[in-house]
């Protein structure tokens, strides 16, 4: 083979570069219509949440007793009014902020903490693993709804307490997945080869383990967002978590229960929003999982 250029002189531009892992994933994801629609819906919801102050027609906190429980389609209140006369559309839009926030934030924090615990346990192994994972198992022994409610009940209602209890609920499943994935990666040949090169633990984790482990953990975390939203709204529904008069979809479901027989459509609306958001996140995660499953 004749080399026109000495290998040491080859600069970066003449190297053919293959697209990296995540660009390949994105390319595959783009070709999945369902996943793209789900992504679009979520981005739209996020946009609505951010722009809430500018797009709501009425003040979501102000109500008038005379205008209570108007059905959807009432002029001036397209989606009707709630039991205190507040405009439903405005409250639904503002509710997006809190509901999305309560859905995403606990998972976000749980991802950090749970991954740290799980990856450490998985990589170090031995008694460290045993102690960490057995402790996690104890928390995991409680069904999540029960735990969330018990924790919230113990700490009292309120957004911050709700966030804390949900974060605690989600740390064990994430830690378990992190540990499981890390253990399987750790036993692969290329990690052994890295050790054979003389690298120390931290370097191996940073360069070899993290890149292969964070993907699956992240996707798993995403699949929990829908659950988190439903749990958070459930907490508000029970009177824990978000308190009135804050607009939050779950809380709205609770307060509108009294109108179940008179204005059923009003009751259904916040639930529809939760449903749409939740199903979009689930479809998004499904699409992401398929896209990431690249068989060589």
């Amino acid at each position: 083979m004749v080399q026109a250029v000495a290998p040491a002189m080859i600069d970066d531009t003449s190297i053919e570069r293959s697209p990296g892992y995540w660009s390949t994933v994105w390319r595959r994801f783009r070709r999945d219509p369902v996943a793209m629609i789900a992504l679009g819906v979520i981005l739209l919801l996020i946009l609505i949440a951010i722009l809430a102050p500018y797009i709501t027609p009425h003040d979501p906190y102000r109500g008038a007793t005379l205008r209570r429980l108007r059905p959807p389609g009432t002029p001036g209140h397209w989606l009707g009014t709630d039991e205190l006369g507040r405009d439903m559309l405005s409250r639904l839009i503002y509710g997006a902020r809190l509901s999305l926030f309560m859905g995403v934030t606990p998972v976000f924090f749980a991802l950090f903490i749970g991954s740290a615990i799980g990856i450490t346990a998985g990589y170090v192994g031995g008694w460290v693993n045993t102690i960490l994972m057995r402790t996690i198992d104890i928390i995991f022994a409680f069904p999540s709804v029960l735990l969330a409610i018990a924790l919230s009940g113990a700490m009292g209602a309120g957004i911050v307490n709700g966030l804390i209890s949900l974060t605690i609920v989600f740390i064990p499943p994430i830690a378990r997945i992190a540990e499981s994935v890390t253990t399987s990666v750790r036993n692969l040949d290329y990690v052994e080869a890295a050790r054979a090169s003389g690298a120390g633990g931290l370097s191996i984790v940073r360069k070899h383990v993290l890149g292969n482990v964070l993907g699956p953990i992240f996707v798993y975390g995403m699949s929990l967002i829908a659950v988190s939203m439903i749990l958070a709204s459930g907490l508000s529904f029970l009177g824990l978590g978000v308190r009135p008069p804050e607009p939050e979809w779950g809380l709205m479901l609770n307060t509108l229960r009294t109108a179940l027989y008179t204005q059923p459509m009003l009751c259904a609306l916040p639930g529809i929003m939760i449903f749409i958001t939740s199903i979009s996140f689930n479809l998004l995660t499904d699409g992401l999982r398929s896209a990431m499953d690249i068989k060589a």
């Binding site: 022994a141 409680f142 029960l146 924790l151 009940g153 459930g234 029970l238 009177g239 059923p264 009751c267």
Partner: protein, 317 residues
Amino acid sequence: MLTYIAKRVIYTLPIMLGVTIVCFLLVHLAPGDPLVSVLPPDASEQLRQQMMALYGFDRPYAEQFIKWLGRALGGDLGTSIRTNRPVVAEVSKAVSNTLMLAALATVIGFVLGGLFGFVAGSFRDTWIDKVASAISVAGVSVPHYWLGMVLVIIFSAQLGWLPPTGAGPGGSDNWVWDWAHIRHMILPAVTMSVIPMGIIARTVRALVAEILSQEFIAGLKAKGTSSFGIFKHIVKNAAPTALAVMGIQLGYLLGGSILIETVFSWPGTGLLLSDAIFQRDLPLLQGTILVLACFFVVLNLMVDVVQTAIDPRIARS
């Protein structure tokens, strides 16, 4: 095999102990006055002290814990502050009510879930799969308590076919297995079955699709095995994981139905728990959480054992 079971049981003990400690801590470290439901607001300080001593709330935590644990192991979970009845009695009644719902929900959810999942996995990527998968995703994404409300709207408010709340004409204390009572079970049970149905359907679908793509299936077909024979092989291979998922779902059904029971006013463990939380009924709260958590742990253990019985490879790993 027996050694494996013994090993797993011993394994579970420290977890159970941890669970009881967490239970206790949860309840006692919470802010709020445990006696708020029994004492009038203007009770004298002396009365308060007396009541505290009566219930043992003035002792140090460790002592309270040991005492409580000791009695619990003997079957006595204390007395509910609110109703003055033994906690054990309250909890067992609630548990049996929840079990009824859970049983029905299990049957509906698991059967439908398994069916949808199996069909979707076998006919992967066809329209059958897409429909079944869509139903499963919807099942998993729906806020179940909202679904309960919707069902109530449709079947109670609009159509008037089924009652919206309660456990029958005489309440759960006078339960009889007749239509007048059973019709109260239908809506809550159906509502409860939806999320497990979705999860099981999705899990089974993935399992079945994976198994069918493995080479030994081609080998079976080449041998001329009948469709039923292949079906048996699929079931055998999918069973361990499917059972594990079902077990977990059963655990959730047993304990996590708080929201649905609230919607339907069904007097089960969920409602009991929620009342205990809001009334700050400490003994009841502790006892209920403990029973539920232990249920869950025992259930996991049983699932492990059954899994191993079906697939001996797991014990050796």
